[in-house]
Symmetry: D2
Subunit: 307 residues, 4 copies
């Protein structure tokens, strides 16, 4: 069974959770989505993240989705599962469940009540004790969690806790954090740094030393392309292609509407059957749909020009 | 089976969840606690509220606790269960589960992301559609939720949704809200208004037209006494007794430490076996324990003087 | 003297406040900046906004900056001045001062404590009473203020208060708000809608019915170009040019670093003499400077391709 | 001229700012208030704090109020002035102004944007550099500022900055913070710890090692009495008297209404002429006024019983 390691790199796509219009989980679309992400070049998947509508699932549904996706992935790439929850009993139960099913590791965001450096470090220390040797991803996403971790706090967590193998870097954009963590002597072990924010700052993040992306965008090809070109030393070409996707990526990063746009786009591409979000969730207006359609058309034209 | 109605009055004690020092739920203490609350004069119980450490329980544990408490209560008083959750699937599943077990109704707090009047009203409209004819308590607790509901918004929810039968009033203290909601013509039906904040403003709340309290304090006798004296027209005597409990009640209302103090006090009184909180949770220092002991001693002296 | 009216359109550039490295205001750069903005096609200026470091100026300095800029503008375009302050006495004093100096109107953001619809409407009603017939811009910028105004609340304010002549639209991006406010029958008067967010959603905003932009970006040419092309019915060409500026615009919109990037870019362009921010303020790392330089180079190349 | 030192103890009353009903500052009431506070046993005064409606004053008004109060105090006790402001230029200007007028020191609250330990320490380091050798009070009031300082952060600030002579302790109640800071070896110098929260936890705070209170309550006699009895080793008697004031103190500590209650009470006592708050500010309902009256009556009865 694949375990998440400090060498994780490439693109871990944050998977959406596909629903039928009546709110049931759409398992067929789950399969199709997995195939699509892997065909697009994903080196890993992350499920039950914030953009996976995890908090809207019952525990049973979470188990079913994770099981279905793991079965379809069939060990081709590592799968990380989000297990953030208000209490340790829930984190513990979720972690055991998904690791038993075959997950490669778990991802933990800080609860919104944490403020001081010590509170944050203590929280992750307790989490690490709780889940034992399960490798975990530290999620640093202040815009969503309200918790601000300094670079020094991240270093303390990474250095103290052997099971912290990866940083999902999603401070906005916090480029200096990457530079700091990559500086000699800051960390006592290498960790994987995978970046978020829908890939909106991926070229700069790669320049600073990131290993890739762990985020969602209806065109994961963009992230794969950028990471690949940087790996091959073709940064300028990577940026040209990045720029072609940027108008849509920017549109998808609208807080409050982003997931609806992403699902609509995935549905337009035929990857999931419906663009339904579970309640409570924003619906996309007809005008917004047309705006997305137009951005897709323009994106395709620009990509053609670049080929 | 008792159903919660718009006539609910008296004291619905917010039950703690007793744990063993190793974190397991202490079911024997649950029984003893139920007996104690009912002997003290509680006219109802509320379980799995914020102070019941609900978010720290797994779904199975929540079911077990609710089942145990309902069995012990044995229909002597109505039991309300907190079902607040980030998604509707979870609220739905929890509601079905606890109503099947024999709960009298559910309590729903607003998710912290709600801001505008319409967002709040829409949320409760969707919740009411979801749970059908299950009576629910609207929890208005801005200090904890971050959501501020104007009196007008509460009136809209109560007037639009027949299954909203009770307001857990916990704005700080929001005495004007009670006065407004009790004004002729504001509501199209009577509702029960039960107040929170550990009873810290209960005399004034009764004066404004509240029906009682729905809150926790290690001496629920205080709330019962105040409500009873107001019911008998002996407000001054009610206030004398209230004042005797106030130094400890004030101490217990310290944010971040309140539940630890409450559990310590309940354990000192022999009602629960241990004062353990589940992680993550604050521990009480030795100094604080002595402070509580001293407050209890002084409280007993003052109550003696008053008898 | 120019008064701000409901017909304001085009691009009101949010002016930065130039400083010397030692923190003194750089008045020569103020002049050069005004000339540059007007040459670039600005139809108005907005000074002492959040990005103008207004809270870091003393009252005397605010007066001096506004006086200098108004003198240089010499009535060629209307100048709006931000007067947001915690208390009405300050708002009143600032408003009188800047209107006496020749400002065209003032801009008012809601204090962060406002939550309910009525609180927001009441606040603006009191502000309008306070400042009399001075035309004002309603600033809707939840990401910065923490205050969420529904479309309905904005409509109430606009309809109730004749002196509310313009909406600085900066909800993120809140395209539906523009559509709603432009719908027949919603408003009892036309208002100007000028959009913010560094122009990051300007094409879509123009499509929805905006009159232009009121925001900052080190290349105000971008906003002017987009607005002009939309006015001429050449939306596609406008979008092509927009896309060329987007990589840098995106980079400049990083919270916490945006103003430092903007000032660095303006200094690189020779418009202001120094990129200094007043304390407390973020400094730009050497790496970030190089990132900006690279983005400027790529932007120039792409603009050349498009000509 | 009196300078604030690390030996400050007793009760520094947070002064309200008295207004006429039309909003003008009521200077005669300022004088009467100063006399009253000093007669009541205040060992210091603090003006232009949050409860002094400082943000609602223009700079000129701030100067006039401070000058009037300092003149009336006439060096009998040290006067601390709140100088918190969004920018350093304002803090600098205010500090110079009030120190020139004869203030004993200044008080600085952290801006709400600070989150990490380093951000907080850096902020105060910069403030201390800015204001030179002016002694300052560190205000730790998370409920109002949103900034949480750990005990360790406070210790770093105190140890690094010689001009930090006093902590206004207003974490809620943060008794453990006092114990920590009084532990041998934590601080490299003694500091004064004066507590806030309207005196609601003053007995416990004195037990933990506080030097007194720096807070407001319409009966400053309460704080003076508690501090004096603790100083004389008569803690039990101090608590008896504290308990007599507690019902009103609790009522005055209602967020959003506290200042209106305090001013109403001061006006009822004849100390200030009017209970007016400046806009925007909450008005006290007729019902609330009667509630305060009743609490005063009961308080007087109880105090009589205790004498």
């Amino acid at each position: 069974m694949t375990q998440l390691t400090t060498d994780a790199r490439g693109v871990f796509v944050i998977a959406v959770t596909p629903f039928h219009p009546d709110g049931r989980i759409d398992m067929e679309s789950c399969d199709r989505m997995v195939d699509f992400y892997l065909d697009a070049g994903a080196t890993g998947l992350t499920v039950l993240g914030m953009m996976g509508e995890a908090p809207k699932l019952t525990v049973e549904e979470s188990r079913d989705v994770v099981a279905r996706i793991l079965k379809r992935v069939a060990n081709r790439v590592p799968v990380v599962v989000g297990v953030s929850a208000p209490g340790f009993a829930q984190i513990d139960a979720l972690t055991r469940m998904v690791m038993d099913l075959g997950a490669a590791g778990v991802m933990v965001a800080p609860p919104g009540s944490l403020r001081t450096d010590d509170q944050i470090v203590n929280y992750y220390t307790q989490v690490a004790e709780l889940i034992g040797d399960v490798p975990f991803v530290l999620q640093d996403f202040p815009l969503a969690t309200g918790v601000q971790m300094s670079s020094g706090v991240i270093a303390r967590i990474v250095n103290d806790l052997p099971s912290c193998v990866c940083l999902k870097h999603e401070d906005w954009p916090g480029l200096e954090k990457i530079s700091f963590l990559r500086r000699d002597g800051v960390l006592n072990k290498r960790i994987s740094i995978l970046c978020g924010n829908g890939g909106l700052f991926l070229p700069e993040e790669m320049d600073r030393g990131a290993d890739g992306a762990m985020t969602g965008f209806a065109y994961p090809e963009m992230m794969v392309t950028v990471v690949d070109h940087y790996a091959r030393g073709e940064a300028e070409r990577g940026r040209d292609l990045f720029d072609a996707y940027l108008p849509l990526a920017r549109f998808e990063q609208q807080p409050g509407m982003g997931l609806a746009i992403r699902k609509y786009t995935l549905a337009q591409r035929g990857i999931i059957a419906h663009d339904a979000l579970r309640k409570p969730g924003a619906a996309l207006s007809e005008a917004s749909r047309r705006e997305v359609d137009q951005l897709i058309t323009r994106q395709e034209q620009r990509l053609k020009e670049l080929n």
